[in-house]
Every structure is written in structure tokens, then in C-alpha cells.
């Protein structure tokens, strides 16, 4: 089955004078796993509700397979949806819950029973049909909600923080099942979460939302390695922000002065010489300069003082201070072979130019 393609153009939702969604435009490809990721209140649920038809956009358009659906009521949109609290019907059995969308579509009873059993098998709950929803654990309820949302073979599935209420272990195993299901069904998934790790592991692309707008959209590695702005750089993973002054360009890389040293960065734009900018780099991509490592350029180097050293098990986390007082974080894989630095110790850190970006 082909997944639906979804086009959001200039989508807006205003409540009185407050803009919950302020101009969201995303092209979601057929069969894609797209995640809306953002902090609480960034407009993820509102966007999803407009696609499902439970909220009417204040402006903009939603097209599914090129046809505008804004005028269609929810029950005519043929979209599967999983709610955060599962929204299973408490007065119906598991089988009746899953059969509900089939009943609405006039599927005859024997056919319905067969499809329900198939869906239960797909979510690994065969034989649970006769139970009441309240007799199931949270993870099982979640899977019933999923089965109910896909049993009628919609070409688009919306999920609003479907794993939010579950513990970490269950969440991780269901994330894998969700990926498998996405691969098996081949339909388009739009997934909402505020858990960045979940978004990074599951999605084909992530739209990072902030204050009702899309801050950046791209593949997980793209967002992590090349965040376009400070919000994305700090919301996804951790970042060191270095205030710097542009000194010029050299072989296609930006040269800037930062804490008294020259630092090079990859940069698409052309900021003017003398302009104040912010450079970002990831803590796990900084290294202490120690003997042979790193190899000579293209690495950036900077003298620092260790202010705090924390052992976190798989890695060590160091808080550092540059000459000008800028605070930096460095994460180092822990190893019995590396010397642990002490607070107050002076050191030099280095990181590659490719890992330095202008935000």
C-alpha cells in the first residue's frame, strides 16, 4: 500500500489573540516517518489536530495527496490516529474497539473478526480480543490503540506522544515495534514527541517546532550535525556556544576569533568581517590535546581550565572555562587507560573544523 503525501502550507491556528501555530509549511512524502519534535506548548498537538480535522486552521491549507482536506470533517478523512491517553472505548472489548472503524465502514461481521485477529497479531496481542481495555497494562492498551488505528488500512497514521505514559524500557521496545510496523505497512507516519532521543532513533525526518513555527526540518543526522539555529543546537543534544568575531575566510571556511584564539568553522553564509557571531560545537566532539592526538589542522585548539570533573560511568563529563570565561562542556568516553583530569588543572582542547558550525 502507498502512503499518503501530506502538504501543510502556511498553516496557522490562533486562539483569541494567541498564536498556537504560526505558519507551518511541511511537505511530507508518501511513506515517510516524520516526527514533530518540540518543547511543551510549541504547537505539535495543535498541528496534528488540524491534520486530523479536530481543529480548524485559522489560515493556510492541508492537502492530502494533493487534495485540500480542510473542509472535510474528521470522519471523512480516513486517517488513523493514536492518542496520548490511548482513548480506548471503556464499554467495548478489545476486539470491539479494534473492530470499531471497520463497523463504521460497513465491513461484514465475519470479515471484521478476521481483520481484528490479524491486527491483534500484528501488534503481538493474539487472543486478547475478549478482554476489557481496563484489564490490560499500559503497554498493551497502547498496542490495542495502535491496532485500532491501522486495522482499516489508512494511508496516513497520526500519533500524539503515544509512548509518553510508559516507562523507559517499554518505550524502547515499542519504538522498535513502531519502526517495524512502519516498514511493514509502508504508510505515512506523523509522530509527535518531545523526547529527542525517540525522535532521533525513529524518524526519517524531524521537524523541530518552537513557538508555533518550524525551527528546522531534516534527517536526524542533519539536525544533529548541522543545526541551523541556536534553538535546534541546544534542543537536540547538547551544544557549546562560543561567542566569536569574524576575521575572514580561508579555503571556504570561516575564520573567527574566540577567547583570544583563531577558530575555524564550516559555514554556508558569508558573514562580514568584524561581525559578532556564535559558533557551536558538541561536547562529545571536543578532545583534550594529549601527545599525538589530534593530528595537525584542520583542528581547532583552545587553552582551558578544568572547573569540574564528573564521572558518569560510560563517560566522563568535564566543565571547562576558556580564557575569556566562556564555559564549555567536554564529554570523553571513559577508559581506564586515559588519565582523569582534576578540577583546577590547565589543559588544551581540540575539535575538528567540520564539527564547528555557525548558528
Amino acid at each position: 500500500m502507498e502512503g499518503a503525501s501530506v502538504t501543510l502550507s502556511g498553516l496557522e491556528k490562533r486562539y483569541e489573540n494567541f498564536g498556537a501555530v504560526r505558519g507551518v509549511s511541511i511537505d511530507i512524502r508518501s511513506g515517510e516517518f516524520l516526527t514533530l519534535l518540540g518543547p511543551s506548548g510549541s504547537g505539535k498537538t495543535t498541528t496534528l489536530m488540524m491534520i486530523a480535522g479536530f481543529e480548524t486552521p485559522s489560515a493556510g491549507d492541508i492537502a492530502i495527496d494533493g487534495r485540500s482536506v480542510v473542509a472535510l470533517p474528521p470522519h471523512r478523512r480516513n486517517i488513523g490516529m493514536v492518542f496520548q491517553n490511548y482513548a480506548l472505548f471503556p464499554h467495548l472489548t478489545v476486539a470491539e474497539n479494534i473492530g470499531f472503524p471497520l463497523k463504521q465502514r460497513g465491513v461484514p461481521k465475519p470479515e471484521r473478526a478476521r481483520l481484528v485477529e490479524e491486527a491483534l497479531e500484528l501488534v503481538r496481542l493474539p487472543g486478547y480480543g475478549a478482554r476489557q481495555p481496563r484489564q490490560l497494562s499500559g503497554g498493551q492498551q497502547q498496542r490495542v490503540a495502535l491496532a485500532r488505528a491501522i486495522v482499516f488500512k489508512p494511508r496516513l497514521l497520526l500519533m500524539d506522544e503515544p509512548l509518553g505514559a510508559l516507562d523507559k524500557q517499554l518505550r524502547e521496545s515499542l519504538q522498535l515495534e513502531m519502526r517495524r510496523l512502519h516498514a511493514d505497512l509502508g504508510i505515512t507516519f506523523i509522530y509527535v514527541t518531545h523526547d529527542q532521543e525517540e525522535a532521533l532513533t525513529m524518524s526519517d525526518r524531524i521537524a523541530v517546532m518552537n513557538e508555533g513555527r518550524v525551527a528546522q526540518i531534516g534527517a536526524p543526522e542533519e539536525l544533529y550535525d548541522r543545526p541551523e539555529n541556536r534553538f535546534v543546537a541546544s534542543f537536540i543534544g547538547e551544544s557549546n556556544f562560543l561567542p566569536a568575531t569574524v576575521r575572514g575566510r580561508e579555503d571556504g571556511v570561516l575564520v573567527a576569533e574566540c577567547a583570544g584564539t583563531l577558530v575555524r568553522a564550516t559555514c554556508a553564509g558569508t558573514p562580514a568581517t568584524g561581525e559578532a557571531v556564535t559558533l557551536a560545537t558538541r561536547p562529545e566532539r571536543l578532545r583534550f590535546v594529549d601527545g599525538a592526538w589530534p593530528a595537525p589542522p584542520p583542528a581547532n585548539r583552545m587553552p582551558v581550565t578544568v572547573t569540574e570533573a564528573v564521572f558518569v560511568g560510560e563517560r566522563c563529563r568535564y566543565l571547562l572555562r576558556a580564557e575569556d570565561g566562556t564555559a564549555l562542556v567536554l564529554k570523553e568516553p571513559s577508559s581506564a587507560a586515559t588519565r582523569r583530569r582534576e578540577a583546577g588543572e590547565r589543559a588544551e582542547v581540540a575539535w575538528s573544523v567540520a564539527d564547528t558550525i555557525l548558528v
Binding site: 470522519h75 492518542f83 491517553n85 482513548a87 472503524p101 463504521q104
Partner: protein
């Protein structure tokens, strides 16, 4: 060391003598229990005993009743009034409850409109209906003015008047439990149903209505039992020939026929209890109340 501590820990909560923890709920209900026993249960039992003990221990009053045509007529009339009133409050009350559950800004207004009669005495409301339904009452005047009637219609002292007034008076007892049940329904359920392909009517029939049934059952039971023993309203606005059980009881008490009145009271009480038991059996009202409480 931990072994030495353990027995002491185990022994600690065991206070000697009275178990206060268990006694507290009993102490809390004790005043009410005493009040009910002294002022309600005892007189009721004393009254009922008259149906069995006057003039000597006998079942004769009950056997007589079975063949008493007046009683049978009054009893069927009471039941049919009760059923009509219950259905009337249900049909009128459900949409109002639905509106109350959905309304946001209008809710206080609807609540006041629903509760205002609730806070007014039954007597006052029954007199109000007498004024409205009288020969020269508002209803007749309006119908005459509109030219729909050429002479005043007889409204007061008819079964219809009783039914209208009782529906009005009992409506809050139907609306409040239903509105409460409707409010308890998770709004995402209706959304889920719509998203899964159910139209507005389908959502109502398959999700909202079944989930509001506990409230409906509670309302029906309340109105049914209350209207079974209604006295003031049928006595004031009803017809003299459309007697209800409570009117008959009052009449016999006035005639100082205590044994007969006591027998009728026993029948009334038994009917109410039977209805409650039937509801419990068929619909599991106990579980229904628990479900709606969630």
C-alpha cells in the same frame, strides 16, 4: 541486629484494647444511624405493623386489597403516571444534560435555570402550575389570544396537569446525574470515534449514549422512586378521579382507617424496593454508579 529489631517493629502497631482505626467510620455514622433508627425506622415499622396487627395478628388486609377495585385502579394509575413522568423527564432532560456537558460559557446560566426550581418548594411550584394551567391561566389565555381555542380548555385537575407539573418538578433529578455522567466521559473518546469514521450521530449512539447510561439509570431510578410516592402535586393539580397511592393513603388516614393506610404504605414501600432491586439486577446500578464515579 536487624533480627533483634524486627519483632519490636511487628509488635508496635498493636495497641491494646479497642481498634480505633476500625471504630472511626462507625463512630462517624453513629449519630445519623441513631437519628434514622429513632425518627424514621421506628415510626415506619410501627406504622407498618398496624397492617398486620390490627385488630389481631392477621393477613386479612392484604388479601382484601388484592380484590379491592379502588386500590387496583389507583395502583395502576400511580404506576402509569410514574412511568409517563419518568419517560417525560428522560426525554426532556437528556438533551438539556447534553447541553450542560457541552456548554462552557453558558453553563452557569443553564445550571441556574435547572436548579432554580430545585431550590423552590414543591408546594410553591405546584401552586404556580395551578395558576398557569387554570381556566383563566396563562396557557389558556395565550391559546385563546392566538385564536387556537374558542373557549378555555380544561387543563387543571386532569392527568395531563399532574404529568406536566411532576415532569417539571422532577426534571433536575434526571438532568443532574446524566450531566454528571456525560461530563465524566473523556472528550478524546468522541474524537477517537470521529477519527475512526463515526459521524456525529454514530459518535452519540456508539460512544456518548452508552457511556452516559450509568447517569441515565441513576436518574431514572431517582425519578421513578420519587414520583411513585408524590403527593402534593397530584393532590393540587390532578383530577379527583385520578387518584394516586399517596392520595389514597392520605384520604384513609383522614378517615382514621389506619390499618388500610398502613397496608397501602407497605405496598408503596415494597413497590419502590422492588423497582430498586430490579434495577440492581438488570442494570447493575451499583456497578453503574461506580463506573460513573471514575
Amino acid at each position: 541486629m536487624s533480627e533483634a529489631v524486627a519483632p519490636a517493629l511487628l509488635a508496635a502497631p498493636r495497641a491494646p484494647g479497642l481498634n480505633w482505626r476500625r471504630a472511626v467510620p462507625l463512630l462517624l455514622v453513629a449519630p445519623l444511624l441513631a437519628f434514622m433508627l429513632a425518627l424514621y425506622a421506628a415510626p415506619v415499622l410501627a406504622m407498618l405493623s398496624r397492617s398486620l396487627l390490627e385488630p389481631a395478628p392477621t393477613l386479612a388486609h392484604y388479601i382484601e386489597l388484592a380484590g379491592d377495585e379502588v386500590f387496583l385502579k389507583v395502583f395502576t394509575n400511580t404506576l402509569s403516571t410514574t412511568v409517563t413522568v419518568t419517560l417525560g423527564t428522560l426525554l426532556l432532560g437528556y438533551p438539556i444534560a447534553l447541553g450542560m456537558a457541552r456548554a462552557r460559557r453558558l453553563l452557569p446560566l443553564i445550571l441556574v435555570i435547572v436548579l432554580l426550581p430545585f431550590w423552590t418548594s414543591v408546594l410553591v411550584r405546584s401552586y404556580a402550575w395551578m395558576v398557569l394551567l387554570g381556566r383563566h391561566g396563562l396557557v389558556n389565555e395565550v391559546l385563546l389570544a392566538l385564536g387556537l381555542l374558542d373557549r378555555p380548555m380544561r387543563l387543571l385537575n386532569t392527568p395531563l396537569a399532574t404529568q406536566i407539573a411532576m415532569v417539571h418538578i422532577l426534571l433536575p433529578y434526571m438532568i443532574l446525574p446524566i450531566a454528571n455522567a456525560l461530563r465524566q466521559i473523556d472528550p478524546s473518546l468522541a474524537r477517537a470515534a470521529a477519527g475512526l469514521g463515526a459521524g456525529p450521530f454514530g459518535v452519540f449512539r456508539q460512544v456518548t449514549l452508552p457511556l452516559s447510561m450509568p447517569g441515565v439509570m441513576a436518574g431514572v431510578l431517582l425519578v421513578f422512586v420519587l414520583s411513585l410516592g408524590f403527593y402534593i402535586t397530584p393532590a393540587l393539580v390532578g383530577g379527583p378521579r385520578d387518584m394516586t397511592l399517596s392520595m389514597l393513603i392520605a384520604q384513609r388516614v383522614e378517615q382514621l382507617d389506619w390499618a388500610y393506610a398502613a397496608t397501602l404504605s407497605a405496598v408503596l414501600l415494597a413497590t419502590a424496593l422492588a423497582i430498586i432491586a430490579l434495577f440492581q439486577r438488570v442494570f447493575g446500578v451499583g456497578t453503574a454508579f461506580r463506573m460513573s464515579a471514575r
